[in-house]
Structure formats: structure tokens, C-alpha cells
């Protein structure tokens, strides 16, 4: 039970420092913001306490694959045409792009040209030896181009990467505080937005691909004729976005795509005061748009968003300024959202919501209050019980437990950890368990005293023997906490964090703080009997 001066210093300094880390939590956020960066770390309330939305989005890998195959198809057509190789039957069959070279003698040449499209995966550093395409000779002029699974995965990875950037831009437009957007697994994106009253708008913003392009209306055929199956191959039948969703025949060729937009703003039409979205093109977009409108004066063109026709106005005069406006019978909200979507850019593939958890601010507040009350009551009950059972030593235990809890909050702050309602339950449980280490030590001391040892040797033996047990018994719970952290999400993970940290601080206080307190008491009192 002897502590050197240095040891005492280190124990007190560590405990104080860790406790001090919890200080920023007691000040309003605005005050903390003015402090130096290193002092700003604090506990974040989980979505179940402050209210907010947790959305797990999944990139539509089927769509990504289809798009990749279509891209291969286009590339193959271009390459073969450039090489003046005649071919037929270029098409996507399942996961394979097939083409038949008309003159079988040119097969070798075609194979070479197509193989040039294939690139090593993973850029220059790619060491896997895999390539983005596999080109095979099917015999008799037939060539099969397949996209290996690794290349598809790579493409999905890229899509997720791009999607995250676009989602960030969209969510930031909502003006919420500290949204969290991160990749999860290969094809999923986690979006957490705290303090959102109604996630409907968020979901609408995230659910749209926002792929917009400008195309011509096919006036050679009426929609009714097209529905009867006489649709020209270079056109498709799309529906109007506004009810009654009338069909329109639109040419497939894209005049200008949404990627050429540099800005989009909501506004009102000067004459009709109807909500509109005005947009600006970049230089190349402006040039393309100017040429297209000059060539087609008097004809209707269409603004297509996610395969729906927003509006199909007639071109009255060439638009050369590189800007324009879309009016599609919007409400103010719709115009606002469309502008946001156009500014943020199109998602590379559609996203689906695979998991949603939203907690309203009312429930969050109730949970905070319930958690606080339960913590106070739990702590008071345990403290009173310890005092009644062990008296002076109960007081020592209570001091150790208070330091323990302060240290838990200190470490949570240091980690910028998230505190959830189950997390609070974890702290309360830790209080119940932390005194266990004291109980183990005290009961052992009692035993040693009964065996007839002197106070000092009894206390010394009690600590030495009990500490080994404390370590063993806490490690089992710690293993459970680690597994729980790995398995759990959201609130459950918060529980695992406080439970795990609680075990670490419990072992620390048992080995140092409690021991130090008792040692100081021994040195000061030099007791003949131990009141335990």
C-alpha cells in the first residue's frame, strides 16, 4: 500500500486530466466554439436523443451494371466503325455484349480493336492483373465482350463515391447542422441528419436521380400512333411529369445534358408570375444549345428529368445567351427543389432507401429527461446503499465511482463519441458494476481481517488478491462490449461504447484511485481496527 510521490502525482494528474476532458459539455455550444480547437471535443447526442433521420441508401447495382454494359456497347460500335469493320447483331445479351463481324477474315483485327478498350483495373497501381473487359472469340466472326465482376464492383465503388459528393451538396442545401454522410460496405451510403422535423423532403431530394437533358420532340408521329407500336427506333415514348401524365414521343438523341449546367436558381416568371427555374450553361453547353435552337426554330423541344417530360415548349427564336428558364407548372417548393437538384448534379445511379429510422424532437427530449432522471435515481440508490453497507469505506467507494463516471464522460468527449439512450443505460449500469470492484476488495479485506491479520496487512492482501479477480471478471464483459460494438448500429453501438469505456475506467479506478484513497487514509489515521 505504499505509493511514491511520483506515483501519486501521476494517478491524480491522469484522473484530473481525464475528468477535465468532460468540461466542454457543460458549456453552450456557442461558447465552446470560441475556444481553441483542441479544447472543443465534446459528446455528441445520438439521433435518438436530439431527434433526426438516419437513412441507409443503396446504389442500384443492377442499374450500374446495365449502364456499364450500354457504355461498352456504344464504345464497341464507335471503335468498329472507326476501323471500318462491318458488323451486325451488336447487342447486350444478359451480361455479355455480342457482335458478329460480317467478314470473318476481319475477326482478328476487330478483336484487337476491342481489346484496346480494356484497361487494367485499379488505375496505374492496380496489381491484380485484372482488366476492365474480357474480349473472347466465339468462332465464326462472333465476338463476346464481358465485364468481369471485379470491374462492376469497381464501377459501383465509383458510383458510391460520386453519389456521396452529390448527396452532400443536396443535403447541405437543407441548411441542417452537421449532417453525416459516409460509405457503408460496398454499395451503401449512410445519411444521418440531426434535428429534422419531417424527413419527407430529405427523402424526396435523395430519391431523385436528377438526370436532366434537353431533347427534341418527335413530331413525325403522334403519341397515339406510337402507343400502337409504330415507334421509330431513334425515339422513345415518355410521360409528362404533370398529371394527367400524357405520353409524348421524344427523340433519344440528347442535345444538351444537365451536366453542362453551371447554375440553377428558383424564381418567378415576369409575365405570369408562375414559379420557374432559371439556368445557365457552361461555354460548351451554351454553344450546343445555341446551335440546336437555331436549327429547330418553330419545333417543340423537351426538358426531360428522370425520364419524365417536365415541359415541351416550342422554340420561338434561337437561344444564344447560354441561359434559359424552365416552367412546368411548379409549386414554389418544387421549383426550389428542382433548382437544388440541378445545382448538385445528377446521381450516377438511382438510390433506394433500405433502412430508415427517424426520431421526432419531442420523443428525443422525453428520452433525455427520462435518461437523466434514471441516472440520478440509480446513482443515489447505489450511493446510499454503499454508505449503509460499508460506511467510511462506502464513502471511499462513492468518491471512486464519481471519479469513474466523470472519467467516462471525459473519454467520451475525447472520442467525440455519440451518447444514446441505451448509452446512458450503460453508464447507469457501470455505476452498479463499478462499485462491484470495491465490494470485491472490501469483502476480501473483511476475510483477511477475520483470518486475524493486522489492518495494514489485511488491506494490502485484500487489494492484491481482489485486483486479479477484478481484471479477470471485467475482461469477460469487455469482450461482450467489443462484440456488441461490432454488431450494433446507432443506439446499440452507443451502449457498447459506454459499457466498454466504463469497464476500462472501472479497472483503472480500482487499481489506482481507490487504492490511493485507502492508502492515504491508512497513513493519516494509522488505525488499530478497520471500520469495514
Amino acid at each position: 500500500m505504499y505509493f511514491t510521490r511520483w506515483k501519486i502525482f501521476w494517478i491524480v494528474a491522469t484522473a484530473l486530466l481525464v475528468c477535465a476532458l468532460a468540461v466542454p459539455n457543460f458549456f453552450p455550444e456557442a461558447t465552446v466554439k470560441t475556444w481553441p480547437k483542441w479544447a472543443q471535443r465534446h459528446i455528441v447526442l445520438g439521433l435518438d436523443l436530439q431527434g433526426g433521420s438516419h437513412l441507409l441508401l443503396e446504389v442500384d447495382s443492377g442499374a450500374v451494371k446495365k449502364e456499364k454494359l450500354n457504355q461498352v456497347l456504344d464504345d464497341a460500335r464507335r471503335v468498329l466503325r472507326e476501323a471500318r469493320i462491318r458488323f451486325s447483331g451488336l447487342s447486350v445479351r444478359g451480361d455479355v455484349v455480342e457482335v458478329r463481324v460480317t467478314d470473318a477474315a476481319e475477326t482478328a483485327n476487330a478483336l484487337n480493336k476491342l481489346r484496346e478498350l480494356s484497361q487494367p483495373l485499379g488505375g496505374l497501381l492496380g496489381s491484380s492483373g485484372q482488366r476492365s473487359l474480357e474480349v473472347q472469340d466465339g468462332g465464326g466472326g462472333l465476338i463476346r465482350v464481358t465485364v468481369p465482376p471485379a470491374a462492376i464492383t469497381e464501377r459501383i465503388r465509383q458510383s458510391v463515391e460520386q453519389s456521396i459528393q452529390i448527396i452532400e451538396r443536396r443535403v447541405n442545401e437543407l441548411g441542417t447542422v452537421e449532417p453525416l454522410i459516409q460509405r457503408q460496405g460496398i454499395d451503401r451510403i449512410l445519411v444521418q441528419v440531426p434535428g429534422l422535423q419531417d424527413p419527407t423532403r430529405l427523402k424526396e431530394l435523395l430519391g431523385k436521380t436528377a438526370k436532366m437533358d434537353f431533347r427534341m420532340v418527335d413530331t413525325s408521329i403522334s403519341p397515339e400512333q406510337a402507343q400502337q407500336g409504330r415507334l421509330p427506333s431513334e425515339s422513345e415514348l415518355l410521360l409528362n411529369a404533370q398529371p394527367p401524365k400524357a405520353p409524348v414521343v421524344i427523340k433519344k438523341e440528347v442535345l444538351v445534358s444537365g451536366g453542362d449546367l453551371t447554375d440553377a436558381q428558383p424564381g418567378f416568371d415576369q409575365r405570369t408570375s408562375e414559379p420557374i427555374v432559371s439556368f445557365k450553361f457552361n461555354t460548351s453547353g451554351a454553344r450546343k444549345f445555341s446551335r440546336a435552337t437555331s436549327d429547330n426554330v418553330g419545333l417543340p423541344f423537351a426538358i426531360v428529368l428522370d425520364n419524365e417530360v417536365i415541359s415541351a415548349p416550342v422554340i420561338r427564336e434561337p437561344i444564344t445567351g447560354g441561359s434559359g428558364q424552365i416552367s412546368g407548372g411548379f409549386t414554389v417548393q418544387q421549383a426550389n427543389d428542382l433548382a437544388i437538384l440541378l445545382r448538385a448534379g445528377a446521381l450516377p445511379a438511382p438510390l433506394t432507401i433500405v433502412e430508415e429510422r427517424t426520431v421526432g424532437p419531442g420523443l428525443g427530449q422525453d428520452s433525455i429527461e427520462a435518461g437523466e432522471l434514471a441516472s440520478y435515481v440509480g446513482a443515489i440508490l447505489v450511493i446510499v446503499f454503499m454508505l449503509l453497507t460499508y460506511r467510511l469505506f462506502g464513502f471511499f467507494a462513492n468518491v471512486a465511482v464519481l471519479i469513474n463516471v466523470a472519467m467516462i464522460f471525459g473519454i467520451l468527449s475525447l472520442l467525440n463519441a455519440t451518447l444514446t439512450l441505451p448509452g446512458i443505460a450503460g453508464v447507469v449500469l457501470t455505476v452498479g458494476i463499478a462499485v462491484d470492484s470495491n465490494v470485491l476488495i472490501y469483502e476480501r479485506i473483511r476475510e483477511e481481517l477475520r483470518a486475524g491479520r493486522s489492518p495494514i496487512t489485511a488491506i494490502d492482501a485484500g487489494f492484491t488478491r481482489a485486483l486479479a479477480t477484478i481484471l479477470d471478471s471485467n475482461i469477460t464483459t469487455f469482450i461482450a462490449a467489443v462484440v456488441l460494438f461490432w454488431v450494433g448500429t446507432g443506439p446499440v453501438r452507443g451502449f457498447a461504447v459506454t459499457l466498454g469505456i466504463g469497464i476500462i475506467t472501472t479497472v483503472f479506478t480500482a487499481f489506482t484511485v481507490t487504492r490511493l484513497i485507502v492508502a492515504m487514509w491508512l497513513r493519516w489515521k494509522r488505525p488499530q481496527t478497520v471500520p469495514i
Binding site: L56, E58, K203, T352, I353, E355, E356, T358, G360, G362, L363, S367, E369, G371, L373, A374, G378, I380, L381, V382, V384, F385, M386, L387, L388, T389, R391, G394, F395, L421, P422, A425, V428, L429, G432, I433, V435, L440, E443, R446, E447, R450, A468, T469, D472, S473, N474, I475, T476, T477, I479, A480, V482, V483, W486, V487, G488, T489, V492, P531
Partner: protein, 340 residues
């Protein structure tokens, strides 16, 4: 109100602390100093009881089944609060069942204004779940406040189930490896039997109480595991120490002495954990009510019973300490290979 109660309790604590420091309180012993209960002989009763209870729990699991929550089954859960006055369950039910969403369950939750709505998994995939929520929002309109909305799609729910069950297995294996490393294999095996016993009984309890089995239940089960083992390890530690010290003591006597020596610690720790859980159960709010109820059952009722009446006595059957007499004759290799 609660504020003043807490202030009063705090004042009480200060007074109690001062009194304790001045050593004016009488000594309070919950457990007498020298208990001599014959726990080992009691195994002839406790083992059959546990076996019957375990079988009962397994039968319950297969007959009643577990109430899988949306985490594992997929579907939608809404906690709504009627803005004006008490909620009319019958009318809400009529409104919601007219939406063609299949199985819709309603249940009062906490106050008279709060209703928990569960909607089964919609066929067709993730987009359909979102469409269902949209329908409900339109049907209920502005009359209610949405306190909580949870939608778990079909793929995520099956992944969560796999993760949850896998995690439970991993925890058991991890803890066993640790015990094997720190003790001997007999102890690890004994702890594992105790473990499985805990989990089986707790799952039986969840089946009877119709508690939603979801991710929080996995958290509760893992915590129960941790604490039950915590208790078991304390007793095992003592048994190991006794094995080293008393080479000639018979196994039943040795086990009994170990359990009795740690008995007062077991009970006192038990009380403190119960007090903490009790506070959580009463005041922690309904969001964690089933979580704390499960833990109350597992830690308080099962965990401690298991360590005292199952985990320790079972060591007799596992042959712990049977070769101690050989060691006695060769004192140089006396210590068991257990680590200090």
C-alpha cells in the same frame, strides 16, 4: 417535483456521508460472516430445476415463438401521438387497414395519446416499404405527431439477423477462449454450460413476455452474458486459489467453501446492479423499457443463480482437481498449470 425529490435525496446523502465518515452508523451485514450453505448438495435440486426450466423455455420458443421486431423481420414501425386528446384506436385501425398494407397492428404505448403502429413487410422490395409509409402519412394527415418512424427493408433485416446471431456466437466463443487461456478447459466448459443456460432461459422469458426480439435484445443478451460470467469468474477465481492452497480438501467441500466465501460479495454486487437496473426500469422511459426488463430478468434472476448453483457445482462433473493427489506426492510440480 422530481427536482425537489432529488435535492432532498442529495441532502440525505450528504448527511449520511458525514455520519459514515464520523463512524456513527451501526455496522450492517447483509450476509452473515460465516455462511456454510451446502450449495453442492443442493445441485441435486438445482440441476433438475434448471433442466426443467430450460426445456420449458425451449418448448415456449417453439410453441409461442419469439416476437421478432422489425430489425429482424423487416417492416415499418411508427410511434404516433394524437395531437388532440386520447387516440381512438378503433378508428385509427379502420383508417389504416383500409390502405391495403396487409398486417397492421396497433397498440397503446405509454400514455393514452401514444399509439405504436406496426406494419408488416410489404412485398416487392425496398421501394414498396417507403410507399407504404407515404400512404400512412397521407391517411393520418396532420392529426398526429410522428414521434418515431422506423423502416427496415427486407435485405437489411436479414443482414441484421445474421449479424446479431453471429455476434452472440462470437461473444460466447471469444469469452470461452479467454477463460480457457486464463483457467483450464473444465472451467471454460462449465462457464459455457452456464452461458447457454442463461441465454435459453432469457429467450424463454422474452417469449412469455412477448418482448420484441431486436438488436436491443441482442445487446441485452450480450450484457447478461458478460455479467453472468463476471459473477462466475469471481467464484472460479476463488476455486482456483483454493485448489492451489488446500490440496487435501475434498472437491465438494472446496467448492462449497469457495461459493460461501464469495457469497456476500455476490449478494451485495447483486443489490447494487439491481438498484441501478431498477432505476432504469422505472424512470428510463419506454424506449428502453424492454431492454431493461430483459436485463433485469437475465442479470438479476438468472445470472447470479447460474454462477452459484450451476457454474460452480458443475465443475464436480467436469473433473476439476481430480489429479491433485498426484501433485501432492511430487511437490516440485505441485502447482496446477494455471497462470497466476
Amino acid at each position: 417535483m422530481t427536482f425537489w425529490i432529488i435535492i432532498a435525496l442529495a441532502a440525505f446523502i450528504v448527511v449520511l456521508t458525514v455520519v459514515s465518515i464520523l463512524d456513527l452508523l451501526p455496522s450492517m451485514r447483509i450476509v452473515p460472516d460465516d455462511t456454510k450453505f451446502d450449495f453442492i448438495r443442493f445441485r441435486r435440486i438445482s440441476f433438475p430445476i434448471s433442466a426443467v426450466l430450460s426445456i420449458f423455455a425451449i418448448v415456449l420458443y417453439f410453441s409461442h415463438g419469439l416476437n421478432f421486431g422489425i430489425d429482424f423481420r423487416g417492416g415499418t414501425l411508427l410511434e404516433i401521438q394524437q395531437k388532440s386528446g386520447p387516440a381512438d384506436i378503433a378508428q385509427l385501425r379502420a383508417t389504416l387497414s383500409g390502405l391495403g398494407l396487409g398486417d397492421v397492428q396497433l397498440q397503446l404505448f405509454g400514455g393514452p395519446n401514444d399509439v405504436l403502429v406496426r406494419i408488416g413487410q410489404q412485398p416487392g422490395g425496398d421501394a414498396e416499404q417507403q410507399a407504404a409509409i407515404q400512404k400512412v402519412r397521407q391517411a393520418l394527415g396532420d392529426a398526429v405527431e410522428y414521434r418515431r418512424v422506423e423502416v427496415v427493408g427486407p435485405r437489411v433485416s436479414s443482414e441484421l439477423l445474421a449479424y446479431g446471431v453471429g455476434g452472440l456466437m462470437l461473444a460466447i466463443v471469444g469469452i470461452l477462449m479467454y477463460l480457457w487461456f486464463r483457467f483450464e478447459w473444465q472451467f471454460a466448459l462449465g462457464a459455457m454450460i452456464a452461458n447457454v443456460h442463461d441465454i435459453v432461459l432469457t429467450i424463454g422469458f422474452m417469449s412469455i413476455a412477448q418482448i420484441d426480439f431486436d438488436l436491443t435484445s441482442i445487446a441485452a443478451l450480450l450484457t447478461i452474458l458478460g455479467y453472468s460470467l463476471n459473477d462466475t469468474v469471481v467464484i472460479y477465481d476463488r476455486i482456483r486459489e483454493m485448489l492451489r492452497r488446500y490440496k487435501k480438501m475434498s472437491m465438494p467441500e472446496l467448492l462449497n467453501t469457495s461459493i460461501n466465501a464469495t457469497l456476500s460479495r455476490s449478494i451485495i454486487t447483486h443489490v447494487t446492479v439491481t438498484l441501478a437496473l431498477f432505476a432504469l426500469l422505472l424512470f428510463g422511459g419506454k424506449a428502453i423499457h424492454s431492454f431493461t426488463a430483459t436485463m433485469m430478468f437475465g442479470v438479476v434472476l438468472v445470472g447470479t443463480y447460474t454462477s452459484v448453483f450451476i457454474a460452480a457445482p458443475i465443475l464436480i462433473y467436469l473433473g476439476v482437481g481430480t489429479n491433485r493427489l498426484d501433485d501432492e506426492e511430487a511437490p516440485t510440480t505441485a502447482a496446477k498449470p494455471a497462470r497466476p
